[in-house]
């Protein structure tokens, strides 16, 4: 079976544009949550984002904020991945971008024009800007990528599903390279009201696994990774960040909003089995860790169950305390954090932590990072609908380029 490696990463978050800014904040546990410029309550937003600072007018005037974020992240991912793709490579590469909302802000603006302002005509850009796969299409157009391009949508697991799907497709030879990730820019008054009605938003901050946690905080962002099969990456001289080696995806088949320990645990166990990894090899889990009472207790329990046979539990942390819950982008942004943790030999902390919750019982690396070599790590993403994803990343050097276990 072919091996799949990460060769490029790009991110746009409340930390601003760039993986370096993201890692600086996440690794120091420097939370970006605060009052919003545009909606009531606290969020993690890219305050003062000006598309013109990053994109040509022709592009930013014809795209929604979500496609703009994705374009900026894709540019960084490609730039960090060594030489540009050749024309032949681009002809076969894929673009798969997860999103829960697509161009929500554009669509809401159009609805407001019709229902509130009473106008009868709309700008012709509403549909091309807001369609769910507009981000994938814009990336395809910007870089002449002519293989398959589409969106995947499963709320907060969207980009984790996109990564898992692209990983399997590359491994099985459907294509050699893919720009994969996710994006959501959904901080609008109406969407925040909708989330508030579920009574799950924290009024203060996001405190995963901590006592006194009061819910999740909505963020915005994009994460894009360049995935390649190892032979292609090696041939073109791309630097390898790490290996994506396993994918687990399950459904609870139970309740549209509830969490399910079994479904979460099965996803992690499948990811490990898919990679031919045993639990004792996993040093770190980048948790879904939303900061709700239910998620964090259930995810902790799922980790305890999945690693019950290991001599020690993996370290666990959630990046959402820093960048908020970026919804459809969360899986990709947290996959990037996981890759950077492996590369930097550093376990990022769980920020905003006040004290241990006995219902959790995991080591969530409170508030301060740990220097630790990580050979294998999981990144979890769970979503409404009872859909669960776990991705397994592995240090490429440590795994060995010709390991018979995965040949």
């Amino acid at each position: 079976m072919r091996r799949v490696v990460v060769t490029g990463i790009g991110a746009v978050t409340a930390a601003g544009a760039g993986c370096a800014a993201l890692w600086d904040k996440v690794s120091r546990g420097d939370s970006l949550i605060g009052p919003s410029d545009t909606v009531p309550g606290v969020v993690a937003e890219f305050s003062g984002f000006e598309a013109a600072a990053f994109l040509e007018k022709k592009i930013f005037s014809t795209t929604d904020r979500f496609a703009q974020f994705a374009l900026i992240a894709a540019r960084e991912a490609l730039a960090s991945a060594g030489p540009p793709l050749s024309a032949a490579e681009a002809d076969n590469a894929a673009v798969i971008i997860g999103s829960a909302y697509g161009g929500l802000l554009t669509m809401e603006g159009a609805y407001a024009r019709i229902y509130a302002d009473g106008v009868s005509h709309l700008h012709p850009g509403v549909i091309p800007k807001s369609m769910m796969h507009a981000a994938a299409s814009q990336i395809s157009m910007a870089y002449g990528i002519r293989g398959p391009s589409y969106a995947m949508s499963s709320a907060c697991a969207s980009s984790a599903h996109a990564l898992g799907h692209a990983f399997r497709s590359i491994r099985s030879g459907d294509f050699n390279q893919a720009l994969v990730g996710g994006v959501d820019c959904a901080i609008s008054p109406a969407n925040l009201r909708a989330w508030q009605s579920l009574r799950v938003l924290a009024p203060d901050s996001c405190r995963p696994f901590s006592i006194g946690r009061r819910g999740l905080v909505i963020g915005e962002g994009a994460g894009v990774l360049l995935l390649e099969d190892f032979e292609t990456a090696h041939r073109r001289g791309a630097a390898i960040v790490c290996e994506l080696a396993g994918y687990g995806a399950t459904s609870d088949a139970n309740n549209i909003t509830a969490v399910d320990v079994r479904g979460m645990a099965r996803a992690m166990q499948q990811a490990m089995a898919d990679a031919g990894t045993i639990p004792r090899e996993v040093a770190y889990v980048n948790a879904h860790g939303t900061g709700t009472l239910m998620n964090d207790a259930a995810e902790s329990q799922a980790i305890l169950e999945s690693f019950s046979m290991a001599p020690a539990l993996p370290l666990v942390s959630s990046s959402k305390a820093v960048v908020g819950h970026t919804l459809g982008a969360a899986g990709a942004i947290e996959a990037i954090v996981t890759c950077m943790a492996i590369a930097a030999r550093t376990v990022p902390p769980t920020a905003n932590f006040l004290g241990d919750d006995p219902k959790c019982g995991i080591d969530c690396v409170p508030n301060r990072s740990l220097d630790r070599s990580i050979s294998v790590a999981l990144s979890n993403s769970f979503a409404f609908g009872g859909t669960n994803v776990s991705l397994l990343f592995r240090d490429f050097d440590a795994a060995g380029q010709g390991s018979p276990a995965i040949a």
Binding site: R199, R214, G215, N255
Partner: protein
């Protein structure tokens, strides 16, 4: 309409139960309501009485409203708060 009758009516509309089968002491669990279904009922009560229940699902591991009477009490309190 008195508050208890209104709450019973809302629950009846959202379930297969008749109002006679719903008592103040009935728990939302007894009535077969999941967490998200309970929120649906909360919203309907808020709309019926033009009130807002200020609560967060993360304040406690218990449901914010255990029984029908809890919903009635919260409604009374919210209406009083609105008038004050």
């Amino acid at each position: 309409m008195d508050i208890l009758s209104g709450v019973k009516e809302v629950i009846s509309e959202h379930t297969t139960l008749n109002v006679e089968e719903i008592n103040p002491a009935s728990t939302l669990d007894d009535l077969g309501l999941s967490s998200i279904e309970s929120l649906d009922i909360v919203f309907a009560i808020e709309s019926m009485f033009d009130i807002h229940f200020d609560f967060n699902m993360n304040e406690s591991e218990e449901r914010p409203f255990t029984t029908v009477q809890d919903l009635v009490d919260a409604t009374e309190k919210a209406i009083t708060g609105t008038r004050a």
